[in-house]
């Protein structure tokens, strides 16, 4: 649904999303089409620039490529996305788990809860796109493994973690892919496990609206990247659960609204937030900006509260101004750094593949919402919109 006369900002979104996709394509080509390179950095990889492929983010890049392929009418991107899903299939362990970390010299790493969840998103999107059962079967196996790994006493996963934080609240973003599988299979054991974890994490919400455990390292502030993971997990799970998901949606709204107010007062998002929402402002986590913008846009779609849309555009504009458009190094065209300034704490001196991934998602969603506004006219007091998963081609 492209409006006849897009606004200048919509035109900018399309141009920049295209640049972002070009970076993602180069990241995949740099690994011979087998996964997307984790990041580009002449500091960490002086010779090649590209680091090894990263299955986790390759997983969630798949829905982005599929959505962009539909948006821009570029079927070759859909084929590229499906090839990434094929690569993920080759990485699956017999018990259904998927590996953590990157894959160097073809050697995969031990199973990881979080990364398995993210790859499920890619497998499900590939299954929806191709109607080929092998992807869904793989996703089911992975989700069943996740369901079986939930610690009954703790109400969350306590093994196969990535960081020093033993009970991460960003595991909500593992529940979401599990529920995507449940929505397609109605396997209640998967739903029960996911809801159990969501309930546990909801109990970790602080009076500020923030959550404990949203950081990689215990005691430190959580990057907006992981903060947004927590929110997205709740929001998407709530969508899939319907009425039963309302408490999770409420928890996400509370936190997202508190972040929005802080951003409006301060003029921009911090790079990281403590549980009490004290921000670390000397740098900004650019991928986190895109992800939080996505969350705010989802909330706008569900509530009609345009303050969230306005905040999302501001957060996104901040990233647009920092995307590499005409770099000296052609590999950096369309890239988005981990942090701004680039020596910021999140992925210092690196250009990760997931920054353009979330950037493209945010650009496409912003473009669609602006198109809807232009068509519908003054928004009045809109009724809650029918929400779709962001990765499902909606045009």
């Amino acid at each position: 649904m492209t409006p006849a006369h897009p606004t200048p900002f919509q035109q900018l979104l399309v141009e920049r999303a295209d640049l972002g996709v070009s970076f993602l394509v180069r990241a995949i080509e740099a690994c011979g089409g087998q996964g997307a390179a984790t990041f580009y950095s002449r500091f960490y990889c002086p010779l090649r620039g590209w680091f090894w492929p990263y299955p986790e983010t390759t997983g969630y890049i798949i829905p982005t490529l599929l959505e962009y392929a539909a948006f821009a009418n570029r079927p070759e991107l859909a084929q590229l996305a499906v090839r990434q899903a094929d690569w993920i299939l080759t990485l699956q362990y017999e018990n259904g788990a998927l590996p953590g970390g990157h894959v160097a010299h073809g050697q995969k790493r031990p199973a990881s809860i979080f990364n398995t969840g993210q790859m499920i998103l890619g497998l499900v999107a590939a299954a929806d796109h191709t109607r080929d059962e092998k992807y869904l079967n793989s996703a089911i196996q992975a989700a069943q493994w996740l369901a079986g790994e939930v610690d009954e006493t703790e109400g969350t996963w306590t093994r196969h973690g990535f960081s020093s934080e033993k009970k991460p609240s960003y595991y909500t973003r593992v529940c979401w892919p599990m529920l995507e599988v449940w929505a397609r299979t109605r396997d209640d054991s998967i739903r029960t496990a996911a809801v159990r974890v969501l309930d546990t994490i909801r109990g970790w919400q602080l009076p500020s609206g923030g959550f404990t455990g949203w950081m990689f390292e215990t005691g430190k502030a959580g990057y907006t990247h992981t903060v947004a993971y927590v929110l997205r997990g709740f929001l998407e799970s709530a969508r899939l659960l319907g009425e039963a998901g309302k408490p999770f949606e409420q928890a996400a709204y509370r936190c997202a609204d508190a972040l929005r107010r802080r951003m409006e007062l301060r003029g921009r998002l911090a790079g990281a937030y403590h549980g009490d929402l004290r921000g670390v402002y000397w740098y900004t986590c650019l991928t986190g900006n895109c992800q939080i913008a996505l969350n705010w846009m989802i909330i706008y779609e569900r509530t009609g509260d345009a303050r969230f849309l306005s905040a999302a555009f501001k957060a996104l504009q901040f990233v647009i101004e920092r995307q590499k458009v005409r770099p000296l190094d052609p590999n950096l065209r369309g890239a988005i750094a981990g942090s701004s300034p680039i020596w910021g704490r999140y992925l210092t001196l690196r250009y990760p593949n997931w920054a353009p991934k979330f950037f493209v998602d945010a650009c496409l969603m912003a473009h669609r919402l602006l198109g809807n506004l232009l068509e519908q006219g003054p928004c009045g007091s809109p009724s809650p919109a029918v929400t779709q998963p962001v990765f499902m081609p909606s045009r």
Binding site: H5, T7, P8, F9, Q10, K246, E249, Q250, Y253, D257, E264, R266, G267, R268, I299, T303, G304, D305, A306, R307, L309, S310, A311, F313, K314, Q317, A366, L370, L373, L374, G377, P378, C379, G380, S381, P382, S383
Partner: protein, 284 residues
């Protein structure tokens, strides 16, 4: 009535108009509290809010308003106010000149909440302060004038509080209006005195022009409100926090959408009284 006017910078056309119009209406403008433009706290606030580019633009506009005034009529925010000044025979173009011409004392302060500002209000025996800009007010400031602080908000209250209220009202399909209210600590939550419609047509010449017309109407509403307060016929109406929302500065992409709607003459149809935000789980 003995009144004081606040203002945010030396060339505020809004404050200049306010000072003159109150004097023309027979009020004694005893004091004008002007906030210094180049204060460290203010610079930091605007830098955070607007970024470097926006800050530079704002600074240039404030320091060299004649640039804006040389633009063709109808092209920006200041035109309607310049027309208004001409209509009322107001020749002053800065606060000092306005104060001199009405015999008001001008005090330059770092912040309106400074002890010197509050002290000046008490010493000059000001009964009412009319807010013409200058930042968020402390309780001590609000308590200083016996009849309180009057402000006219650029949007319909209680629905649209905060920034760009006129634009937000248009965005939600509500006809723009402004509201005179007594200032309290909570933003735009004070008791309202009356509401005055702003013709929708003024926005058809663009958002900037619409804003300018609103600024002009704000002055007239302030003058009318002071008259009501003086007569003792003001009937303050309390607001409930749940009756509206506090809005931030509208993001430029939404302003683009608004411009498009205005160009397509998709005019708002609802009056402020008819509009209520549908209860969302956010308000719960």
């Amino acid at each position: 009535m003995r009144v004081a006017v606040t203002c945010g910078y030396a060339t505020s056309l809004h404050a200049i108009a306010l000072i003159h119009r109150l004097a023309q209406e027979g009020h004694e403008v005893a004091l004008c509290l002007r906030v210094r433009v180049l204060s460290k706290a203010r610079a930091r606030f605007y830098l955070r809010q607007l970024g470097w580019r926006g800050f530079r633009r704002k600074l240039v506009n404030r320091l060299f308003p004649q640039r804006a005034q040389s633009l063709p009529a109808g092209s920006d925010e200041t035109t309607p106010m310049l027309e208004y000044l001409a209509e009322h025979g107001i020749a002053s173009r800065n606060i000092s000149a306005a104060c001199r011409s009405v015999g008001a004392r001008e005090i330059v302060v770092g912040s309106l909440n400074d002890a010197s500002a509050i002290c000046a209000i008490r010493q000059t025996g000001v009964e009412l302060v009319v807010y013409g800009g200058g930042g968020i007010l402390s309780q001590e400031f609000l308590d200083a004038p016996p009849r309180g602080v009057l402000n006219t908000h650029g949007g319909p209250l209680p629905q649209f509080r905060g920034m760009n209220a006129g634009e937000w009202a248009l965005f939600y399909g509500v006809r723009p209006a402004m509201t005179a209210h007594m200032v309290v600590r909570e933003l735009d939550l004070g008791p309202t005195l009356f509401q005055q419609d702003v013709p929708v047509e003024c926005w058809h010449r663009g958002i900037a022009y619409g804003r300018g017309v609103c600024a002009r109407s704000v002055v007239e509403a302030d003058v009318a409100a002071v008259r009501l307060i003086q007569d003792g016929s003001a009937k303050p109406c309390l607001q409930r926090p749940d009756d509206g929302r506090t809005f931030p500065v509208m993001a430029p992409p939404l302003l683009e959408v608004l411009e498009r709607w205005i160009a397509e003459e998709r005019t708002p149809t609802l009056s402020p009284a008819e509009f209520h935000f549908s209860p969302s789980s956010l308000d719960g």
